[in-house]
């Protein structure tokens, strides 16, 4: 049975189901209990699991992130709720120097099974410190897995997999998608890491897109289809590990690729994916891979400016047209 639920609800269900299954799981973060987070994603959990397992913390991101690491090393499976992805900077030491490296530094003796749930996404008029999409900097650090759900379906399946994983996993939810609905089975399911999803098949150009950019790519594909251009849309679902093969196979077929991600473009996710495509589909490419990341500026508050900084479906469609017409398109 499948029903339509919001991404928010999907996250909530994933956590509830896993917490019912495994008593070692607990969740901690700011205003997660009675308030259920500012986005109300966790509403109802404290009623079921109590304040012992849904734990309101002080505003101490480095502190509770570090505590999650220690808890994970000693038999618990903590889920950390980081209210905004922009606060990742505050927990980097505990995440990247401690959580990510402990298993390796201990020669495999200590495990750190924790999930860091946080968000990303601009255009909420929240300005430069509440709008960043920082997946690239986390993906760069060996020892961390990184998931980027693109709908309620992925949000639930990936989060459940993350919770069962014996390693630190960072999962980025697009905060603008919390109210978006998608079909989600009633039955339990998990989505394995490292398996890209071909959202739409196509022949002429491959659109590799992460998180909410999958919607942007699908919209573009829809537009393009009406014009006779057949776009394949691929959602990697996890960027660490990255399912290179599915992407490369697609580009070998279409000979053209556009990579879309909402993180800043330079030194970002689009660079890695574009570089791998350029390398491994080199002899199949008819044109340079086009990268579309967020503009390399801090996110501005003014709506008049903010909307200019993120990739749009019109932008994707236009780039696709040009690349298919054989025009060389340089990344912005």
């Amino acid at each position: 049975m499948t029903r339509e639920i919001t991404l928010s609800k999907a996250v909530n269900e994933a956590i509830a189901e896993e917490m019912r299954r495994d008593p070692t799981i607990f969740l901690l973060g700011e205003d997660v209990a009675e308030a259920g987070t500012p986005f109300k994603v966790l509403s109802g959990l404290v009623e079921e699991f109590g304040t012992e397992r849904i734990i309101d913390t002080p505003i101490s991101e480095p502190g509770f992130m570090g505590m999650a690491v220690g808890a994970a090393m000693t038999g618990s499976r903590p889920i950390v709720d980081l209210m905004f992805g922009d606060f990742l900077y505050l927990v980097m030491d505990q995440l990247c120097n401690q959580a990510a490296k402990t298993h390796y530094m201990s020669g495999g003796k200590l495990k750190v099974p924790l999930v860091l749930r946080t968000n990303m996404g601009a255009t909420r008029r929240s300005a430069a410190q509440h709008s960043q999409s920082l997946q690239a900097i986390v993906a760069h650090i060996p020892g961390l897995k990184v998931a980027m759900p693109s709908s309620a379906y992925e949000a639930k399946g990936l989060l459940k997999t993350a919770i069962r994983d014996d390693n630190p996993v960072v999962i980025f939810e697009d905060k603008l998608m919390y109210q978006d609905k998608a079909p989600v089975p009633e039955e339990e399911y998990l989505i394995p890491f490292g398996q890209a999803n071909i959202k739409r098949e196509g022949r002429d150009v491959t659109l590799v897109a992460t998180s909410s950019m999958v919607q942007v790519a699908e919209e573009a594909a829809e537009t393009l289809a009406r014009e006779g251009i057949s776009a394949e849309v691929i959602d990697p679902r996890t960027i660490v590990p990255l399912d290179e093969q599915t992407i490369i196979d697609s580009v070998r077929k279409t000979s053209r690729a556009i990579v879309i991600d909402e993180g800043h473009q330079s030194y970002g996710v689009t660079a890695e994916i574009a570089a791998r495509i350029s390398e491994k589909a080199f002899y199949h490419l008819d044109a340079p891979v086009i990268r579309m990341g967020a503009m390399d500026v801090p996110v501005p508050f003014s709506p008049a400016l903010e909307d200019l900084t993120v990739p749009t479906s019109e932008g994707v469609a236009e780039n696709a047209r040009r690349i298919c017409r054989g025009e060389l398109v340089h990344a912005a």
Binding site: D31, E34, D56, T57, I59, R124, A127, H130, P300, S302
Partner: protein, 339 residues
């Protein structure tokens, strides 16, 4: 009213009264803008805490610096900002203090020593302390006041910078606006022990004051700012206060974390503007009518500024990659290697 208080002259009192009313008027308009869906994003109202910002800022010179918070409109007004540029900023317009790039959470009248509101809770504690270090190193006379909430005391950064401020005797005043809540959580649930003792443990002189009493706040701050200038800083002040609205404008149903009675009590009995107004009338400095006239003038100013801001233009799209780097016109050209 104590003898010390009497030393203030009518002009000072009037300015404090006006500044508090201006903050309240600003926030009322901002709230309306939100409710009528004319303001992009969210905002955190300062109403109820006016005596803190005004009491402190009226003890400072234009050269003195402050750092502000996500709840920063009050500090901005109190440090001398104009309504027009503020509303323009709130609406993302070109004439805003930050050319629309900052919005509510980064609003600041930089020319008057406001080093910025900050959307990272506690994020400005280093900045304020560094400004104080700068003053000391450059031989400048300015004092810096670091505003933050009770919730922000949970950030480790505070302890790091208090330690350095104490070691180096920096001219900084840490002003904790304890409004009893951080978002939807009571302070008691997230703060162990005593805030005042935390500062004292670093050898910092610490004070508690009624944050609804603008004169008490002002006197204490004047004294401590003076001592800072003599090299006797740093100091810590905990100011008991209350926010009338929700955590942000969208936080309407608050019953699950605080009672209507509690809200009513603060508003009815402890309102900083009403009480100060009353005392001015009691002392026969002003009549009730005079104060009403002042209130009305300010409300009209706010109204006019809103109208202006609503009509003001947005920044041109070409501004989007300006101001990324000082000295670089357009960042995108620069980043592509254009010299």
């Amino acid at each position: 009213m104590s003898a010390a208080r009497k030393k203030h002259n009518t002009e000072d009192y009037l300015r404090m009264y006006k500044q508090m009313v201006r903050i309240r008027a600003f926030e009322d308009k901002a709230n309306q803008l939100y409710l009528s869906a004319k303001m992009p994003g969210l905002t955190h109202m300062y109403s109820g805490q006016e005596a803190v910002a005004v009491g402190i800022c009226e003890a400072l010179t234009d050269e003195d610096r402050i750092t502000s918070t996500h709840r920063g409109h009050g500090h901005c007004v109190a440090k001398g900002a104009n309504f027009r540029e503020m509303f323009c900023e709130l609406l993302g317009k070109e004439e805003g203090y930050c050319r629309g790039k900052g919005g509510s959470m980064h609003i600041a009248d930089q020319a008057n020593g406001n080093l910025g509101a900050n959307a990272i809770v506690g994020g400005s504690m280093g900045i304020a302390t560094g400004a104080a270090l700068s003053a000391k190193r450059l031989g400048k006379d300015f004092v810096t006041v670091c505003f933050f909430g009770d919730g922000a005391t949970a950030q480790g950064l505070w302890y790091e910078v208090m330690n350095m401020a104490a070691l180096w005797k920096l001219p900084v005043i840490y002003a904790c606006e304890n409004n009893g809540y951080s978002e939807y959580t009571k302070t008691d649930e997230i703060a162990a022990g005593s805030l005042v003792k935390r500062a004292e443990a670093f050898g910092i002189e610490a004070f508690q004051v009624d944050g609804q009493d603008v004169l008490a706040v002002n006197e204490l701050t004047s004294r401590l700012a003076g001592r800072c200038r003599k090299g006797e800083g740093p100091f810590f002040i905990e100011l008991d206060t209350y926010r009338y609205h929700g955590h942000h404008v969208g936080d309407i149903n608050r019953d699950y974390y605080r009672t209507k009675e509690e809200e009513a009590e603060w508003k009815d009995i402890r309102d900083p503007i009403t009480n100060f107004g009353k005392s001015l009338i009691d002392q026969k400095m002003f009549t009730a009518e005079e104060l009403v006239a002042i209130d009305n003038d300010i409300a009209a100013d706010a109204e006019a500024a809103v109208d202006y801001a609503l009509k003001a233009p947005y920044p041109d799209g070409s501004e989007v990659d300006m101001h990324v780097f000082a000295g670089v016109d357009h960042a995108l050209d620069y980043l592509r290697g254009a010299r």
